[in-house]
Subunit: 445 residues, 2 copies
């Protein structure tokens, strides 16, 4: 016996018990189904990546990457050497931090992928973030990306797929906020902010809904952007700014081009499941640095954070290869979708337990197995009570929470002699003796 | 642009491209379907476990565990301190090594699990083993276990489920070899080997098919088991030893009990999908130390290694809790199953690409999206060609390997005016103009 240790999962990590998984699997299967209907194909990459693939990609969040310790002789060599032990010498592999950088690696590695690679990827990622409500250290991402084209049909496809997933899951009051990095850059310049401060300005704007106008101005000020320039920028991206109004505020070409692109995109989306679900949102900035074109984020009413986000990023996917590869993608926040669906009672009734449990006593075990086998052959999910305890106890167990059999099939000497089972529907208490061969038709009725 | 780095996955790890995943997903979905038909419910545990949960469980293989390096201040503290840097101070978490120890942790942690917990778990595990053919550092295990009962119906259920999975996948010539740890222990004692050498003897016997009789005797000799005792043991477990013949060779009770249990189990299995697929195999030992009762391993003809293995282990699952919890389980080797199925051409035809790709030119993009949406509404998997290149090129792309659309739906001015699409079946070349609303019925015909 080992010493008494904590049997909780590590901080920020979760065990998914059967009752959790029936819900998670329901959502994942809807996501997968819709993604496939949109012509996306699956990709999976290893949990572990070489560290050099991940470093330099996530800015200051790089400190959240889980790194793997060297083992055996490699570790011994480092620890025994006279040189100072540094983290760089202790590790050269790490856990996947997102699904986008691995996609870029895959696109560079496999020359025979389709030119327009529409892939979906549903896998966990790891971030050593401070755990909190809905924030975990191991969590699933559900990404769709289309690489190889700058066509706005790609934006339409990822957004339409995202909307279709949310609608299929039962979300009604959701909206995709849409903006354009080209527009934001033009506005930043129009406000007189220096090009070198573009990233700073984007990050400050991204916090607008959290820290407010004054907070953003303070932050810009602290980073060397004048109060006047900051105020001009915030006036330009006022909540009521429209594509039309901005056309007259911006004189430079990049900004106009972005506005026209947005206009076209929003019009096209009206022909997809995103119809009525997408609107221009001048204040949307998105935190990540790598976006180059349209950006989007889905909000549901009464939830502070977004449940989906993405955008066009034409310079990231090519970073490991010889040429630039345009790309656009959308990531659904599985964990948040699950939290909202649970809070709002949005799950359909999902069967967790078996269709029927075979309860038996005073009969040969061979007969029990034969009946179970016959009923499984009828397509039923069949559980067998393992021990010859009192029938009442067996039936009680079948009905217990966590077991949740819908029916029991009682098997005694009489039933075996007759080739029948005594079926009982646990919720209603209805009973009937039926030939084994007809069990499924009774249970499914 | 980052410096040029290798875009291969780390050694022993794999990217699964769409063509790999359609096969993997097919197998996993068969496994999952059969497991659920047998009343098993899903469990998933975090990839990361606290190190103290894993240490002391895997014998000398413990060195293969992937450990996570401390981060930030915790790491700094260790590196900056005057104390010697040791691996124990650098890490207190690690990647899951198997699915059995996490199951034991879960059973101890959640008091409200069903008494007879029949769980399946299909997740990757990580072992820093030397990579080789069919041997990877990240690979999936597909485990079923039943905890809480010593009933031999539990053995029957896991073995029947395993056989049903293999049969459903198309395996015909496979066989489960069955033995019993109680019998092996009795035979070891009967041979005059000391109780303290039991583990050594089991491990040596486990290598019989690899290193042969002389190899086993040498190994036993080297570890202090006399040649005579070794020879007696190997004579007792001669390949042609039967349950009957062993009954007369063994005088002690544990051995007789084990033989009776084996007899009952083998007879019971004849009433399940394991009928004709299970046989007594006196030389089967299994490497792991924790088995306590029946043990089993599935072999397919012409494959050196097993594709499934398991057994009863009544003392492991309780190790983190207050009481012993009997358990029996079976693990299917997904990676080996996939290798064998590929080598033997056992996969059915699995559609990888979309049902249809919309090819278009000289038409409004809105119309393209409308047609795609309408066809998706008919349940089809629809891909949209993203750019208005020449139609011939679009169709060529649709038919390319890796894209593999079955049909193209060509959309030009005429079709839009008529509300039709021009469908072409790529393999046969058959063409027909059909109203958009009837596309699915033509494609499915």
């Amino acid at each position: 016996m080992a010493k008494k240790v904590s049997t909780k999962p590590p901080s920020g990590m979760r065990d998914f018990l059967p009752s959790d998984l029936v819900r998670r699997n329901h959502v994942v299967s809807v996501v997968r189904g819709v993604y496939e209907q949109y012509g996306f194909v699956p990709l999976e990459t290893p949990s572990i990546e070489n560290l050099e693939i991940l470093t330099g990609k996530y800015g200051e969040d790089e400190k959240l990457i889980y790194r793997l310790l060297h083992r055996g002789d490699s570790l011994k060599k480092v620890l025994d050497s006279d040189e100072a032990v540094t983290s760089a010498r202790l590790s050269d592999q790490a856990l996947r931090y997102d699904l986008t950088v691995p996609l870029a690696r895959v696109v560079a590695q496999y020359g025979d992928l389709p030119k327009y690679f529409k892939r979906y990827q549903i896998q966990p990622v790891w971030r050593a973030d401070r755990p909190g409500k809905g924030r975990f250290r191991e969590f699933y991402q559900c990404d769709v990306d289309i690489t190889g084209t700058t066509s706005n049909l790609a934006e339409c496809e990822v957004l339409a797929a995202g909307c279709e997933v949310l609608s299929t899951l039962g979300f009604e009051a959701f909206e995709f906020h849409i903006n354009h990095r080209g527009l934001l850059r033009a506005l930043i310049r129009t406000a007189g902010i220096d090009l070198s401060q573009e990233g700073t300005a984007l990050q400050a704007v991204d916090k607008l809904d959290k820290i407010g106008r004054d907070g953003v101005l303070d932050e810009l000020d602290a980073r060397g952007v004048s109060r006047t320039a900051g105020e001009t920028l915030l006036d330009l991206i006022a909540e009521d700014a429209t594509i039309e109004s901005l056309k007259s505020s911006i004189s430079e070409e990049e900004g106009h081009k972005a506005l026209v692109e947005l206009e076209e995109l929003l019009a096209l989306l009206e022909n997809t499941p995103a119809a009525g679900k997408a609107r221009f949102s001048p204040q949307l900035a998105r935190g990540l640095g790598y976006y180059t074109g349209p950006i989007f984020e889905a909000q549901v009413t009464d939830l502070g954070s977004s449940i989906a986000g993405g955008g066009r990023y034409d310079e990231l996917v090519g970073m490991f290869g010889k040429q630039t590869v345009p790309a656009v993608g959308l990531s659904l926040g599985l964990e948040r979708i699950l939290v909202v669906m649970a809070e709002r009672g949005m799950f359909p009734e999902l069967a967790q337990g078996p269709d029927v449990m075979v309860c038996w006593r005073d009969v040969d075990r061979a007969a029990v197995l034969k009946v179970a086998h016959a009923m499984r052959g009828q397509g039923l999910r069949v559980e067998v009570f393992p021990e010859p305890t009192k029938l009442g106890k067996q039936i009680q167990y079948a009905d217990a929470p966590g077991v949740g059999a819908a029916w029991v099939a009682v098997l005694g000497e009489r039933e075996i002699a007759d080739g029948t089972v005594s079926l009982k529907h646990l919720e209603s208490g209805t009973k009937s003796d039926v030939p084994v061969a007809e069990a499924a038709s009774v249970i499914r009725r």
